[in-house]
């Protein structure tokens, strides 16, 4: 280091010079340092001080308001339009003012009261010094020599052969524990419906044909324990009561399809509610155009044509549930769905 040595203990050295020297030793040169208000006590300076003070006081006032509101403002649920609906907005406003006050105070202080400075820091150019590199490289390469693996092929083989299964041991319990066979039991191919299972409403009550309006649709579930819950999330079904001419068209399409043959009952047809694209309930029924729209990605299915997709990203028709009416006059499934319901997957043929 050239030049006069900086004497830290020299009593003539000012604090700023200490700061500057400290920065210098850290590779930073303070090239410009100028107080905002070289003459203290000017009106302009006092004005800025007052602004900053006001900001902090505003923050304090708003914080107090927040505390008061938090403790005493009514918040328990009450229907309609009342003060409880303002609890969260009041908290938000007071907290926002508090934080904004602190923010403005600090930033105005930094921008207008703190001295203006320009500092320059040196960057490292290139990598570490060449001698450091050489030393580190030598240390690293030496590890290989020290372990002498090149000269001990038996060790080399043993380490690799031994550690490989150990690596698997770390991973396998987590994966193995989580792993669950989707085909045993084969939930993907079965729903809650089976021969004779009744179609029921959400409240588990069975349905007669005269309980569904012409031109209407009803969401139905399998009449088994838990059939209406998420335990059977693949089972929700839409039961349609079509008008005569529409039912005739639907029957023509159904009977022309080897899978859907004889699945309708009179003017009633039942399709899976679970969209074959991504699994949302495809339940927007346009009664006059007989289109079923799924709200998630806008797939549209034609109810009078085996629910085949006519728009959107879905590629497979909604499966039809074969239905009939049992001895007591209630709707029942003739069998489970004949194809897997819901979105496609690799092994779905």
């Amino acid at each position: 280091m050239t030049g006069t040595r900086f004497d830290v203990d020299d009593p003539a050295v000012t604090r700023f010079e200490l700061v500057r020297e400290g920065a210098r030793r850290d590779g930073v040169e303070i090239v410009h340092y100028e107080p905002r208000f070289p003459i203290p006590g000017t009106k302009a300076e006092r004005r800025v001080e007052r602004t900053v003070a006001m900001m902090f006081l505003l923050a304090g006032g708003a914080a107090t308001a927040f505390l008061v509101a938090y403790i005493w403002w009514p918040y328990q649920y009450e229907a309609g339009a009342n003060l409880t609906k303002l609890y969260t907005p009041v908290l938000g406003l007071t907290l926002a003012l508090t934080l904004a006050g602190i923010s403005f105070g600090v930033i105005i202080w930094a921008k207008r009261l703190l001295p203006h400075e320009v500092a320059v820091e040196k960057r490292h150019v290139g990598g570490s010094p060449a001698d450091e590199r050489k030393l580190t490289a030598a240390s690293l390469v030496n590890i290989v020599d020290e372990t002498d693996v090149a000269r001990r092929p038996l060790l080399k083989f043993a380490v690799v052969a031994g550690l490989l299964p150990v690596g698997a041991v770390a991973v396998v319990p987590l994966v193995g524990g989580l792993l669950k066979n989707p085909h045993n039991p084969d939930a993907l191919l079965h729903t809650g419906f089976a021969p004779g299972v009744r179609l029921v409403r959400k409240d588990m009550s069975p349905i007669r044909p005269e309980d569904v309006s012409v031109g209407g649709v009803e969401t139905v579930f399998p009449g088994i324990p838990g059939g209406t819950t998420n335990e059977y999330a693949d089972s929700p079904t839409l039961l349609f009561h079509l008008r005569d001419e529409d039912a005739a068209a639907a029957a023509r399409s159904a009977n022309a399809d080897p899978v859907n043959k004889d699945s309708m009952y009179l003017n009633f047809v039942a399709y899976s509610k679970i969209c074959t694209h991504a699994g949302c309930p495809a339940s927007l029924y346009e009664q006059q155009t007989h289109k079923l729209l799924c709200p998630c990605h806008q797939s549209q299915f034609k109810v009078t044509e085996n629910a085949r997709p006519v728009f959107g990203p879905a590629t497979r028709p909604l499966p039809m549930l074969p239905i009939t009416v049992d001895a007591d006059g209630f709707f029942a499934a003739k069998s489970d769905y004949k194809v897997p319901i819901g979105p496609g997957f690799w092994e779905r043929s």
């Binding site: 400290g22 926002a96 904004a100 820091e121 694209h277 709200p295 806008q298 690799w346």
Partner: protein
């Protein structure tokens, strides 16, 4: 027994002795000063990443509060709480505890809303910061690693947000989980196994919410903290990039030291991010789960979308045509491409972009100086293309809301999205490329011919000419930083009158050449004498 000696307790010496003790034990004097003296360049766009950083802190704080009240169990209960319209309804404990937070915990709804808004702001901050870094070339060597960490932070934030809003098990997020299940199932070969393993069986099962909970409060935050720390440490070690300008080279950083100025600005900005979050958390309702109801497989609402940072994938799913691959008894469903393949490409391609660009531009040198977007028209145009692509997907994610409120046919919006996705990016590329070239040309024109003064003179032969103020007697070369284009940037006009309610100083008299020194006007005596 000697007389009691009272040791005088010297308060003023306490900080010194504490600091001395700390340094004796830990040796921190030099490292501490080194960090305090680190220089940060001063530009507004360098603060955008802090939007994400401070939002993360707010998420940790508000999230911790929520964990004291939330129960991730999917066990079914019958609600009997204070929200009347849901009394008697069967729901999971997760949904019930979310309702309790919203209606029965004092301030619970406020904290919940702050948490959710903060998550949206976090992702928005990442995106604007990412684009700033991209368009200014800050990702170039030696910062490729930090860029890759950034891309990972985006996708981790994405996952964390998705897991977070799926925790209340409401109808909207439950529908999202259904779609997520279908997405996992759509992966070839392993799809159904992966979905079944994740959900513990068939959808929905009873373990997905508790598993997402652990992911959301422990695993992903831990990884996020580690990666954010790495991101900041790399920034500290490599020092921040800076704009070219007077005194700035590739071998220095010009700005202000961390303590106190920069730290004060950071702290103040943290408060502002918190203030905006609090404002939105209180004044704007978000995720009203009590209106959605609990998740049931047979229930869905019109206008179902994921949160905005996931919405672009909803858009890609809506736009993708009904193309399914069926061969040899196996299926690749149409859901696979827009939801698995596309995010895969959108992870790998951006992550590798620094290396790809370096290859193409044949540039292996180290860069600490930023580039103005206009000076790299190809990159800027590529970025514009990416933004156009992303915005079309984002808008398509909400196409049913747009169709309903603007009276456009839903089917038509789907087609508009499909066609727009193919047409708009190349159009954006071309348009932005030309704009960059135009801006570059204007810079050089001003350097060559001077600044337009706005003074029109009529020549004797009848022509009108505008007088230009040359910037220098010699020829100037473009140096990579902003060229002054207006007279007031040259200091050639009167200083603007500063002050909000009253002027801080009287405006100077009519300008003379050379312009009066700033120093003279702002001298204390003049200010004193005028007031």
């Amino acid at each position: 027994m000697s007389a009691k000696r009272r040791r005088k307790f010297d308060l003023k010496a306490v900080p010194g002795s504490v600091a001395g003790r700390l340094d004796d034990d830990l040796h921190i004097a030099s490292p501490l000063r080194k960090i305090m003296n680190k220089v940060f360049p001063d530009h507004w766009s360098f603060l955008l990443g802090e939007i994400a950083l401070w939002s993360f802190v707010i998420l940790l704080l508000t999230g911790t509060f929520l964990t004291f009240f939330f129960d991730p169990s999917m066990e079914e209960v019958v609600y009997n709480g204070s929200y009347v319209p849901l009394r008697g309804v069967t729901m999971s404990r997760a949904f019930e505890s979310s309702l309790e937070i919203s209606f029965d915990v004092r301030g619970g709804l406020f904290i919940r809303q702050m948490h959710h808004w903060s998550a949206l702001i976090f992702m928005a901050g990442i995106i604007v910061h990412m684009f700033r870094t991209f368009f200014t070339g800050a990702f170039r060597r030696p910062r490729e690693l930090n860029w890759i960490i950034g891309v990972m932070l985006f996708w981790l934030g994405f996952t964390e947000g998705f897991a977070g809003y799926s925790l209340p098990d409401d109808a909207l997020s439950g529908t999202g989980l259904r779609i997520a299940n279908a997405i996992v199932m759509s992966v070839p070969v392993i799809g159904s196994w992966a979905a079944s393993s994740l959900f513990g069986g068939e959808f929905p099962g009873t373990v997905i919410v508790p598993r997402l909970y652990i992911l959301h409060v422990l695993l992903v935050p831990a990884i996020l903290v580690a990666l954010i720390t790495a991101h900041l440490v790399l920034l500290l070690l490599q020092k921040h990039t800076q704009w070219p300008g007077p005194g700035r080279t590739n071998h220095n950083v010009v700005g202000e030291r961390m303590v106190p100025r920069y730290a004060a600005k950071m702290g103040g900005f943290f408060m502002m991010v918190f203030a905006v979050t609090a404002l939105m958390g209180g004044l704007f309702q978000i995720n009203p789960i009590w209106l959605f109801g609990p998740y049931e497989a047979s229930v869905v609402s019109a206008a179902s979308q994921p949160d905005w940072y996931v919405m672009f994938l909803d858009g890609s799913t809506r736009l993708f045509p009904a193309w399914e691959i069926r061969a040899f008894g196996y299926t690749v469903p149409p859901l696979f491409w827009p939801t698995v393949m596309l995010p895969g490409i959108l992870t790998v391609l951006p992550a590798l972009y620094p290396y790809i660009e370096a290859r193409f531009v044949k540039d292996k040198s180290v860069h600490h100086l930023l580039q103005r977007p206009r000076d790299v028209p190809t990159r800027t145009a590529l970025g514009a293309m990416a933004i156009a692509f992303y915005v079309v997907l984002l808008l398509s994610g909400g196409n049913d809301v747009i169709a309903d409120k603007f009276d456009i046919s839903l089917n038509a919006t789907t087609w508009m999205g499909r066609i727009g996705l193919l047409l708009l990016p190349p159009l954006a590329f071309w348009a932005v490329y030309r704009i960059c070239l135009g801006l570059q040309q204007h810079d050089r024109e001003v350097l060559a011919h001077g600044v337009e003064t706005g003074i029109i003179r009529r020549l004797p032969d009848g022509r009108f000419v505008e007088i230009h103020q040359p910037l220098s007697a010699k020829e100037l070369e473009y140096a990579g930083w902003a060229v002054p284009k207006k007279m007031n940037r040259l200091g050639a006009l009167v200083p603007t009158v500063r002050g909000f309610f009253f002027p801080l100083e009287k405006p100077a008299p009519t300008p003379v050449s050379p312009a009066p020194q700033r120093q003279a006007i702002e001298s204390a005596e003049e200010i004193e004498s005028r007031h």
